[in-house]
């Protein structure tokens, strides 16, 4: 399954929509009772020819329940990573923060997700972080010179083009871990650039 023919606008729309999705949702009140009943049902179902037919593992309620839990846990983990990723490049003593770990942005490729599914979770987080920083920057924009804003936007365009190009390649080749790492690096750079500019704009 590939989506190599997805166009830029559709991808942006999709990214914008996924960024708006809630981090978690409360399951319906009777969900657990249904899941429990499904788990306790015999797993083999007789087929028309009389042979036992085992339902695919991804259709089993227990698997779906576990997947839902993993999704929530993964989402929380991503948030934790996002909060922690500001200090991954070592510690030192600074003039502004003596004896405190220096703030360092964003995880590097060593912490890049290993699969497309993991990356998709992290990507949502990157997009929402970038959107939040962009909004912050827009509100502070007057504190930066117009030529600086123009150069910043040009740099962001360069990064976005790289992200889009790598994203397309990943859609065509979803198992490529090198692409996932490269894409993660580009997102890191975007978030880091936005964060640095936001901090510099706040004199």
């Amino acid at each position: 399954m590939t989506e190599d023919n997805i166009d830029d606008e559709s991808l942006r729309n999709l990214q914008a929509q996924t960024a708006k999705l809630p981090r978690e949702i409360t399951p319906p009140a009777d969900a657990w009772a249904v899941i429990k009943a499904e788990i306790e049902r015999p797993r083999a179902i007789s087929g028309d020819n009389g042979a036992a037919r085992v339902s695919p593992i991804w259709q089993r309620p227990a698997f779906l329940a576990a997947a839902a839990l993993l999704l929530v846990a993964g989402s929380s983990a991503v948030t934790a990573i996002a909060l922690a990723r500001r200090n991954v490049e070592g510690t030192r003593v600074t003039a502004s923060q003596p004896a405190v770990a220096a703030e360092r942005p964003v995880a590097n490729s060593n912490g890049a997700p290993a699969t497309l599914a993991e990356f998709t979770l992290v990507e949502n987080d990157y997009i929402s972080t970038a959107n939040r920083l962009s909004a912050l920057l827009e509100s502070d924009e007057t504190q930066l010179a117009p030529e600086t804003i123009a150069k910043l936007k040009e740099s962001l365009r360069v990064i976005d083009a790289a992200i889009l190009e790598a994203r397309r390649a990943l859609a065509a080749d979803p198992a490529n871990k090198q692409l996932i790492e490269m894409l993660s690096t580009s997102y890191n750079q975007k978030v880091d650039l936005l964060r640095r500019t936001t901090e510099m704009g706040r004199s």
């Binding site: 030192r92 003593v93 600074t94 500019t197």
Partner: protein, 291 residues
């Protein structure tokens, strides 16, 4: 007659401009390893390490600028305040600080130059350039569209710019350099833990790797050229999704990528011992001998 009148007017204006500027020279005691924060939006900041336990500020302030400074032995701060924060007049200051001081400087378009400081440096510019000379313990330099130049051997370096270039001429045991479209140029020196990354900026490394170290090079569309001298041993892992890999360092040849596209190269220079990982999306990668 008209020419003379214009000349006289120009001289008068220049004199008026000069008289609007203010010379400053102010000093303060501080510990030898004290923390110093300097803030100047426009103009220039020059920091020089000296062998005294005091700070001396000298320079020229633009019209309406005021220099504020204060603090104690452990730390002090100074900033230039202008009448019009939206359009500040430039201030050019030279600050002599104790050699082991920890220095923090932030500017907008003012350039920053630091020399002879052995303590730690935190330098931030938006559009100005940063130049560090000497051997500070560590350097954190960030710019948006300014360039960063480091000549010397800080133990720890973090240098980031977006469209500005970053160049290193020295050695470091732990260095990370990042740009978007700016070039990264490393000339000489030995590196133990190193990371160089760009989006479209070209990366050129002409130095050596410390044995047992780890070096990472990442780019999306820039070129990567890594040159090491004879006798420098390293294990290279090169991956390019769509770019060309050229090996002029060893006899190994790149092979087709494991995912059915691009090319990869795993090769050892000498007896190896330092891991060098190079990743490129579409920029060409070249390994070569630099003697």
């Amino acid at each position: 007659m008209l020419k003379r009148l214009l000349l006289a007017l120009a001289v008068a204006l220049a004199a008026s401009e000069a008289s609007a500027q203010t010379k400053v020279s102010r000093g303060l005691k501080i510990n030898a390893d004290g923390a110093i924060r300097i803030y100047n939006l426009v103009g220039s900041v020059r920091v020089i390490g000296w062998n005294r336990d005091s700070v001396l500020v000298r320079g020229t302030l633009g019209k309406g600028n005021n220099l504020h400074m204060g603090g104690g032995g452990a730390g002090m701060k100074m900033f230039i305040e202008g009448i019009d924060e939206r359009n500040p007049a430039p201030a050019d200051i030279e600050v002599s600080v104790p050699m082991r001081a920890r220095v923090w400087v932030k500017t907008a378009t003012a350039s920053i130059e630091v020399s002879g400081v052995a303590g730690s440096l935190d330098l931030y510019v938006v559009g100005g350039n940063i130049k560090v000379t000497g051997n500070p313990a560590d350097v954190n330099a960030e710019a948006i569209d300014g360039s960063i130049t480091i000549v010397g051997s800080p133990a720890w370096v973090r240098a980031k710019s977006a469209s500005g270039d970053v160049s290193l001429n020295g050695s470091s045991s732990d260095v990370t350099v990042s740009t978007v479209s700016g070039k990264i140029d490393v000339e000489g020196g030995r590196y133990e833990k190193a990371k160089f990354e760009s989006v479209t900026g070209n990366i050129r490394f002409a130095g050596s790797f410390e044995r047992g170290g780890l070096a990472n090079f990442d780019t999306h569309g820039g070129t990567i050229e890594v040159g090491i001298p004879k006798g420098n041993d390293a294990d290279f892992e090169v991956v390019s999704i769509a770019g060309k890999v050229t090996n002029r360092l060893t006899s190994s040849r790149p092979v087709a990528g494991r995912y059915g596209r691009g090319s990869e190269l795993n090769t050892t220079a000498g007896i190896g011992g330092t891991r060098v990982v190079i990743k490129s999306f579409k920029g060409p990668v070249t390994l070569l001998r630099k003697d």
